[in-house]
């Protein structure tokens, strides 16, 4: 066992948990209407708890045990046999379980951005539980658990496919089943608190050091390079998004600024262990611009009320980074090099993207059907347009001043 690597992954686990609680919660809560603030936070928080229990019960086992090509087995359900001595690589396996659990927490929580302000809380919890078992754990198995995509040699360092593509695609499917917020797209409200959203975005940025740097599963140059390229991509994408905003709308808004960051972070995620600083810079440039227009495309061309742009920012970003990971890994772009040719690797990346997109879409669709028939998906019109979900679902008000 490597104590040094263990020390870093202990830390990284805390950082990634911090991304969801309170990071992502605040990022999303700042962007909704004030009467849905508590609801948004409770969704992220509730998902974190459900995901943890589900991961402990079966998720980890499905993702990481057994020899299956497409799915793991239940031999480690309830973490059977995972003690303080068992290792995963050169860190304690129990710590690996924990680190991966924080990923299993944030991935379904990302989807919250799509369905805020109108979904039932029971549906949120139920969908998330099923989704971890039926979408997230299998895809994790494919890519990181020794499954068929791993065999193909797909590059997905920290979850462009596993995390961002699955979440983005599923976001769109859920929105299609759930419907738009009433009034959309003619009428919607500006974020109720850019300040709260900024706090959340900053926490996401900091936490992402644990996300991408921790995915090296070691405290070494690889982890160092991962956080450096992550950071460069985030900073660059932010400046790009801000600049576009400044030119198009005359003013660089704070919400745009922080959205650029998230785009840069999501995009660099799959590539972060394979590329060099220049690769990070290029991904920052591209993601800032592409995700910007993706938001407008999904919202206004396709009129899909993916309310906080999960697909346009995370999905598009994660897919973009996955597709370019092979190219930017080449030494031409200062990358760390690849065994295959760029072309071959990029084919593998495309196969990865297509299969994950299709699989996520179909399974999420089925999950929504089941949930709809058991719990229903939407709160009442009265609750949505009038009192808000804070009061309607949770019986609380966000500020009693």
């Amino acid at each position: 066992m490597s104590g040094a690597n263990t020390a870093w992954i202990l830390t990284a686990s805390a950082l990634v948990l911090f991304m969801t609680l309170p990071g992502l919660g605040l990022f999303y809560a700042g962007l909704v209407k004030s009467r849905n603030t508590i609801s948004t936070l409770a969704q992220c928080y509730g998902i974190a708890c459900v995901a943890s229990v589900v991961w402990f019960v079966a998720g980890y086992s499905i993702a990481f045990s057994g020899e299956g090509n497409y799915i793991g087995d239940l031999s480690k359900a309830f973490l059977k046999g995972v003690g303080t001595e068992s290792l995963s690589g050169d860190i304690p396996e129990i710590l690996f379980v924990m680190f991966q659990m924080t990923f299993a927490i944030i991935t379904p929580a990302l989807i919250v951005g799509a369905y805020v302000e109108r979904i039932k809380f029971s549906a949120v919890l139920f969908i998330s539980a099923l989704w971890i078992l039926a979408v997230y754990a299998p895809v994790t198995h494919w890519v990181w658990g020794g499954g068929w995509l791993a065999d193909l040699g797909v590059f997905d360092f920290a979850g462009g496919l596993v995390v961002h593509a699955t979440a983005g695609v599923s976001a769109i499917v859920i929105v299609k089943m759930l419907g738009s917020r009433r009034g959309f797209p003619e009428y919607f409200d500006p974020p109720h608190s850019p300040v709260i959203a900024m706090i959340g975005a900053s926490m996401l940025w900091v936490g992402w050091f644990g996300f991408n740097g921790g995915s090296a599963l070691a405290a070494n140059g690889s982890a160092g390079m991962a956080i450096l390229v992550t950071h460069i991509s985030a900073a660059t994408a932010t400046l790009v998004w801000m600049t576009i905003d400044w030119f198009r709308n005359g003013k660089p808004g704070l919400v745009g600024i922080i959205t650029g960051t998230i785009a840069g972070l999501a995009t660099v995620t799959p590539a972060s262990g394979f590329i060099g600083p220049m690769g990070g810079f290029i991904l920052g440039l591209l993601s800032g611009a592409i995700c910007y227009y993706a938001v407008i495309f999904f919202k206004f061309s396709l009129k899909i009320d993916d309310s906080l742009d999960v697909m346009a920012v995370h999905g598009v970003g994660g897919i973009l980074g996955t597709l370019l990971a092979g190219v930017l890994a080449s030494e031409t772009f200062g990358g760390l090099g690849l065994e295959k040719t760029v072309m071959q690797q990029t084919m593998v990346q495309i196969i990865g993207v297509v299969s994950v997109v299709v699989f996520s879409a179909i399974v999420t669709y089925v999950i929504c059907l089941i949930t709809k028939s058991i719990f229903g998906l939407r709160v009442s019109e009265e609750e949505e347009i009038s009192e808000g979900l804070d009061s309607g679902t949770h019986g609380e008000q966000s500020y009693h001043i």
Partner: protein, 112 residues
């Protein structure tokens, strides 16, 4: 006595207050309100898309004065609050029947 209610731009509050002190106003009550009028609201942007904000922040000044002071007060507010742009606001004046000062029980003019 008169009850004067003025809706002004928040940024003019400081100037209005100074001016009112000059004309001898000793007390007033203000509150945050939102207004809609000729000044048409404004456009914020959310991730590249325009979002209409209809109501703009204003401040309401609520002021009871004696009949003879009314004109000077209205003039003071008008002068200090005016920027000449849409949205400068309005003053509404009504008769006021009765005032009581809670601390002393004084009534009407004495209570102002």
């Amino acid at each position: 006595m008169k009850l004067i209610r003025a809706i002004i731009k928040p940024e003019r509050l400081h100037a209005v207050k100074e001016k009112l002190n000059e004309v001898g106003v000793k007390g007033m009550t203000i509150s945050d309100v939102k207004g809609f009028g000729h000044q048409k609201g404004k456009t914020e942007f959310y991730r590249g898309s325009p979002v209409q904000v209809h109501f703009l922040p204003k401040i309401q000044i609520f002021l009871a004065v004696s009949d003879e002071k009314k004109d000077s007060v209205v003039q003071a507010i008008t002068e200090a609050a005016k920027t000449g742009k849409y949205g400068d606001g309005k003053i509404f004046i009504n008769n006021l029947d009765e005032v009581v000062r809670i601390r002393t029980g004084e009534k009407n003019e004495e209570a102002l």
